[in-house]
């Protein structure tokens, strides 16, 4: 089995001895079925995992790239929805994709989307749950985010591009580089992509990391509109991003 596996992994290795066909002739095509099954299956798994990355570069480019990745990075678990964790990193170093600097970012986002999709379930709390917190301890509040919550930041408008590809309306707007922040979260069935204003990002990131509300609010720049932080907090609660809170005493 060791030789069998080695010859499956390395297509340049000869077919190992000890295997036969009933007629005694060559078995190259027979052994090739196994080689093909493995890599075609892994490329299919990546195509399902990274659908917009595929759309951007097209079927042929994607399959060639995915095959090279699969040969160098076989999965280590039969749970194939976890496959491709370092596909984005591979794309970063994949010379034919160098012109498309956003491509690796798209793959990074699509993998995070899948992680949120499969993350543990939890019951969100509502804004009313915070109504009984005395105002004097409000600043010590620590919010617990839903297990599916992840922060995604990029200098490319990856989420806009992703949504446009999903809705098949690419070309309807112009993409410009900048600072883009989103919270990826799946409070119920659907994965939500909640935009976070650049001026609110440091605050949300601090809350996400477990900072007290008062300390996090202090990170909102003084130049920000006064309603920015309360609106953002209401959005987090309203969209089901928060599942619990503690008061630091």
């Amino acid at each position: 089995m060791h030789n069998f596996a080695a010859a499956l992994k390395d297509v340049n290795m000869p077919i190992p001895d000890g295997m036969v066909a009933w007629h005694g002739h060559a078995i190259d095509k027979r052994f090739a079925v196994y080689r093909n099954n493995i890599y075609a299956g892994l490329v299919d798994a990546l195509a399902a995992q990274f659908p917009v990355t595929l759309q951007i570069v097209g079927e042929e480019f994607f399959r060639d790239m995915a095959l090279l990745y699969a040969r160098a990075h076989l999965p280590t678990s039969p749970t194939l929805f976890t496959y491709g964790a370092d596909f984005a990193q591979f794309i970063t170093h994949f010379a034919p994709a160098h012109e498309m600097r956003y491509l690796a970012e798209m793959a990074r986002f699509e993998y995070m989307w899948t992680c949120s999709y499969h993350a543990a379930d939890a019951h969100p709390i509502t804004a009313e749950a915070l109504a009984n917190v005395p105002p004097e301890v409000m600043g010590t509040l620590i919010l617990k985010f839903h297990p599916s919550a992840q922060l995604f930041s990029s200098i490319f408008p990856i989420i806009d591009m992703w949504i446009d590809h999903k809705h098949e309306c690419v070309g309807s707007r112009e993409y410009r580089a900048g600072q883009f922040h989103h919270l990826i979260i799946r409070p119920q069935v659907d994965v939500l992509l909640i935009p976070i204003a650049p001026q609110a990002y440091a605050c949300v990131a601090a809350l996400y990391a477990g900072a007290q509300l008062g300390d996090a609010m202090a990170l909102v720049p003084e130049t920000a509109p006064p309603e920015l932080a309360p609106t953002m907090l209401a959005t987090l609660l309203g969209q089901g991003c928060i599942i619990d809170f503690t008061i630091h005493t």
Binding site: M1, A5, H23, L80, P147, S148
Partner: protein, 293 residues
């Protein structure tokens, strides 16, 4: 030997009718509860995430239908120890969904730490028999229930094999008390690929252990010598000679839960349940014939 309870969920054993493989695309149809499929089978590996829609849908469908778990990742035919993390994940799913049946393949798919994503062939020797028996024993004791083992489709044979497939499988069932899942398409594919008679295979198969049957499509290629090379592709209608073989098998063993397996190039729901209806017509015809005897 009957070490492990069969069908532990008393109210929901798999009926001796046709079920279909459940894919996300079919969730809405399954939830309509039209009974066009009598039961559903899933690959547990697709439900090993912590939460999210897959569990939500499977939970809702499990409330309506009996469910079977058909693993593709345990590597029971491998030389190396089973992955206990994977066994733990299976145990968690079995405890959660109480499937009427749990099955795995006579094949290997893991080498070192790599998952090779295919069902790879096992030489049939005393040594590999001992390894498979130990793995089936370990699986059944870990999961605290009986498992079914499925006959493989293969493309090569090993010079080192000292027994044939039927004998190998019969010994596993006798030594471990596991049940068997007989894949009729696999019989046909392997028989064509290795130039033996599929009816003769069935005549010798230990059918008393069979608790489930699989039917699927294959495609036909040619090997280096121009001989037929059938690929177990699960991407097409069940072929006519496979239906004939199935008819023969059901006449012999009586109505048995039968799954239509379709894993890629997925058909419409109507086509899929059309295949299930075809299987049901054969099951019903032989059930009547048995009743008339």
């Amino acid at each position: 030997m009957d070490l492990y309870p069969q069908n532990p969920l008393a109210e929901g054993p798999i009926p001796a009718q046709a079920g279909v493989g459940l894919k996300a695309e079919y969730y809405p149809h399954a939830l309509e509860n039209t009974r066009e499929a009598a039961w559903f089978e899933v690959h547990p590996e697709n439900y090993m995430g912590a939460g999210g829609p897959p569990h939500r849908y499977l939970t809702a469908i499990r409330e309506l239908y009996p469910v079977s778990l058909h693993g593709v990742g345990l590597s029971i035919g491998g030389a190396q120890p089973l992955n206990t993390e994977h066994l733990n994940r299976l145990k968690l799913l079995i405890d959660r969904y109480q499937p009427a049946l749990f099955s795995e393949h006579l094949a290997w798919s893991t080498h070192d730490t790599h998952f090779l994503n295919d069902l790879l062939p096992v030489p049939y020797t005393a040594q590999t028999l001992a390894a498979v028996v130990a793995h089936v024993d370990q699986t059944q004791s870990h999961l605290k229930r009986q498992m079914l083992l499925e006959n493989p489709s293969t493309y090569v044979q090993f010079e080192t094999s000292t027994m044939d497939e039927v004998e190998f499988i019969a010994q596993i069932a006798q030594k471990t008390g596991c049940g068997l899942l007989l894949d009729v398409n696999n019989i046909f594919v392997s028989a064509q690929n290795h130039n033996y008679c599929p009816y003769e295979y069935i005549s010798r198969f230990p059918t008393q252990f069979v608790q489930e049957i699989h039917l699927a499509g294959h495609n036909v290629q040619q090997d280096d010598a121009g001989a037929p090379l059938l690929i177990d592709s699960h991407d097409a209608l069940v072929a006519d000679p496979v239906w004939a073989l199935y008819d023969h098998l059901i006449a012999k063993i009586g109505a048995t839960p039968t799954l239509i397996e379709w894993d890629s190039n997925l058909p419409t729901w109507a086509v899929l349940v059309g295949e299930a209806a075809h299987a049901n017509s054969i099951l019903a015809r032989h059930a009547r014939a048995h009743a008339a005897e």
